[in-house]
């Protein structure tokens, strides 16, 4: 009793305890909690009618997805001693004893050349405390699943679990585009590639002996704009993701760079230096009608549309050093957004329009991925390394992909917007750079 009292005395300041017994209702309030990932367990799926090694392990892919999101703390497979494959087989006390809040169980059954898959997401805590009356959070069934669809199916399951438990759309079924640079006997090869969000299943979209830069997905996910330097002339191109067809959109003297799509898929913003200093232009993709958006002598580059499509944030040296500005599309009025440090570039706004992700050079000269809260101006550094660049937001606004360098090799990293989770995407030989996250797949 005494221990508890002293404990209360010690911890009391953490708790806002407002107790009143004047009325019948006694009230107490707590603020905050423990910052931790959601403890989840993924039980290896049961397999009927086939060898366990014959298909991709769905629970393994889901586990990796959820862990990479930074929102989950998944139980190690070795720690699992019970192997239910259906909600009816679950002993909730066992899982609660392991500190698990949610549980995923499932079965794979081979029928002919395809598989049928069942899985359920179960709320361990409330199931145990509120009883059997509760139904599973998710219970899904899939038929005619081909072995090559297993990864996509697992990502889809991850998306469903993520959205159910985190309340935000999952990004596991999205794709990423990036540029890989490989050295060969015929010199350097630059390849625009598209892969799953976890880096698996890379597919080349465009190859060139010249540098390739700045891939940008159209909001409908059907096209990718990028910069190439065929015959040593910069140009902006548009590639059809499915057909692989590439068309050159602009090839003005000087810079043709930094393309970015408007939310309605109709307009590209880009950078041209045909009239002097690099400036932001918009071009109608259909009519190719060009319109200059910014003026002045300094460098304006790296445009990015605001989520509402009514303004563009960009990098400008108009103040002497590169900083982030915003220009309204209707009034062309320009305002400065970044104020901390003397190098802020490559801006993008989060889907809620509240935060600005950027490349920031700190006092030590290191280039870091940083996020600035717009209404407070507070700047938070997410990664710190000398060679980070190309920050690119996930469509749900929770992760930032970026290019980095490890041992002189270009690699792709991802960091959660709160800075808690940093992961490295699997890379193959050569340098991988300039990641671009696709929109949600419909």
């Amino acid at each position: 009793m005494r221990i508890k009292m002293s404990m209360f005395g010690f911890m009391g300041f953490l708790v806002w305890c407002v107790a009143s017994i004047a009325n019948a209702s006694l009230y107490v309030e707590i603020t905050g909690g423990v910052a931790a990932g959601l403890p989840i367990a993924l039980v290896p799926f049961g397999i009927e009618g086939s060898d366990s090694g014959s298909v991709e392990d769905l629970s393994k892919i889901i586990k990796s997805d959820l862990e990479n999101s930074g929102q989950f703390k998944a139980l190690n497979f070795q720690a699992i001693k019970e192997f239910p494959t259906h909600q009816n087989e679950v002993h909730y006390a066992y899982w609660q004893g392991l500190g698990i809040e949610d549980l995923v169980v499932g079965r794979v059954k081979k029928t002919g050349s395809t598989f049928s898959v069942n899985f359920a997401l179960l709320d361990v805590i409330r199931q145990k405390s509120e009883g059997a009356a509760r139904s599973p959070l998710l219970a899904m069934h899939f038929d005619n699943v081909r072995p090559q669809d297993f990864r996509a199916l697992a990502h889809h399951m991850s998306d469903c679990i993520f959205e159910k438990l985190i309340g935000v759309k999952g990004i596991f079924s999205t794709r990423i585009a990036y540029v890989s640079v490989t050295e060969g006997s015929k010199g350097t090869t630059h390849t625009l590639e598209v892969a799953d969000s976890d880096g698996f299943n890379p597919k080349p979209l465009y190859r060139s002996a010249y540098p390739l830069m700045s891939p940008a997905w159209s909001p409908d996910g059907k096209r990718i704009a990028f910069v190439s330097f065929e015959k040593n002339r910069a140009g902006v191109n548009i590639a059809e993701v499915i057909s692989g067809h590439v068309e050159r959109l602009t090839q003005f003297p000087g810079i043709n760079g930094a393309p970015t799509w408007s939310p309605d898929n109709q307009t590209l913003a880009l950078v041209l230096s045909k009239d002097g200093s690099p400036k932001i232009y918009t071009i109608d993709v259909g009519s190719k009608r060009l319109s200059r958006l910014t003026e002045g002598a300094g460098i304006d580059t790296e445009p990015s549309f605001a989520p509402d499509g009514r303004s563009i944030v960009f990098t400008s040296s108009r103040g002497g050093k590169p900083q982030i500005y915003r220009v309204a599309l209707d009034s062309r009025k320009v305002e400065r957004l970044s104020f901390k440090g003397d190098y802020n570039a490559k801006p993008s706004l989060t889907p809620d329009n509240k935060k600005l992700v950027m490349l920031h050079r700190d006092e030590g000269g290191l280039f870091s991925i940083a996020v600035q809260t717009l209404n407070t101006g507070e700047l938070k550094i997410l990664t710190r390394s000398s060679l980070s660049d190309s920050p690119n937001l996930a469509p749900n606004g929770m992760m930032v992909l970026y290019g980095s360098s490890v041992g002189g090799q270009g690699v792709l990293g991802a960091v959660s917007l709160d800075g808690r989770v940093k992961i490295r995407l699997p890379s193959r030989e050569g340098n991988v750079q300039e990641p671009a996250w696709s929109p949600f797949v419909k």
């Binding site: 404990m7 911890m11 017994i21 209702s25 603020t31 905050g32 423990v34 930074g70 985190i166 935000v168």
Partner: protein, 318 residues
């Protein structure tokens, strides 16, 4: 009494009246002895002066040798005669002194015996007095005891009367209640009246006990206990509340919590935060904190068995 009044000083010493004659005799004897002793001392003193006289005589005359010799012889004889007389006289005196001494010693023995007798008598008297005193005290105490007994008896009798009266009253009340009950029963037919009354009586009894306790206990102490227990519970819930990453800020939800006797809880969402995820993790935080340790004091337990919990997420949640 009149006689002792004349000798006030003595009377102070001599409280026992029948010892006075001995004492008087003793005093008189002492006076006599004293006078005798002083007189005898005076006599012996005069005799002691005698040896100085011959010297005066020698200095008187020296004339002729023969005469002188005669005279010397005569003197010598005389002297011899004188010294013999002296010796006799001395012997007589010594004898007398011896006699006096002996008498005095006898007297002293008598006196000592007298003193002893007196002390013994005194001692006897004191003992007797003490005995009398103890006896009197005993008597007094017995008297008092008797008195008390009588009073107790009286009280007992009175109590018995009261009891009888109370019994009579109770009997009366009971009779009345029984009558009432019978009336009620008649009014309400034969329903589950008994059970209801029993429950009501129990509740009333509980309420009465609690009311009594509440009256006795200080309200401040209970409030303090309740706050303390709530604080411990709130800390436990907080430690089980997982702050989800990337949630909107300034979320707040309110839960109604009923703590069951086994320490488990029933949770009801009173006010949603507008974010289902936040509501859910708040509810889970409470369930994860089971069991809640109930305080022993029934009054505190009564107060705390249901309460409302507000959960707010951290500002900035990062």
């Amino acid at each position: 009494m009149k006689r002792w009044a004349l000798h006030n000083g003595l009377a102070q010493w001599l409280t026992p009246t029948h010892y006075t004659p001995y004492f008087l005799a003793s005093v008189l004897m002492h006076v006599f002895l004293l006078v005798f002793f002083i007189f005898s001392l005076e006599t012996s003193y005069n005799n002691n002066q005698l040896p100085a006289k011959p010297g005066e005589i020698v200095q008187a005359s020296i004339v002729d040798q023969t005469k002188v010799d005669e005279e010397v012889t005569r003197i010598k004889i005389a002297e011899k005669q004188q010294s013999e007389e002296q010796a006799i006289r001395e012997k007589q005196l010594t004898q007398k002194l011896e006699q006096v001494k002996h008498a005095r010693e006898q007297e002293q023995v008598k006196l000592d015996q007298l003193k002893k007798d007196m002390a013994a008598a005194k001692q006897q008297e004191q003992e007797r007095l003490a005995e009398i005193k103890i006896f009197k005290e005993k008597e007094q105490k017995q008297l008092e005891d008797l008195k008390q007994e009588k009073e107790i008896e009286k009280k007992k009798l009175a109590a018995l009367d009261d009891q009888r009266q109370a019994e009579q009253d109770r009997a009366k009340v009971m009779r009345q209640e029984r009558e009432k009950e019978e009336k009620k029963k008649n009014e309400a037919k034969r329903k589950s009246m008994e059970a209801k009354q029993l429950a009501a009586a129990k509740a009333a009894k509980d309420a009465a006990i609690l009311a009594e306790r509440a009256a006795v206990e200080s309200q401040g102490r209970i409030t303090g206990e309740v706050q303390k227990v709530l604080g411990i519970w709130a800390e436990k819930i907080k430690s089980n509340k997982r702050e989800a990453f990337g949630l909107a800020t300034d979320l707040y939800c309110k839960l109604a919590i009923n703590v069951l006797p086994d320490g488990n809880v029933k949770v009801r969402l009173l006010q949603s935060s507008g974010n289902a995820i936040y509501d859910d993790l708040s509810i889970k935080a409470v369930y994860k904190s089971e069991p809640f340790e109930l305080p022993e004091d029934p009054l505190v337990r009564e107060q705390i068995k249901s309460f409302e919990l507000g959960l707010r997420n951290d500002e900035g949640a990062e």
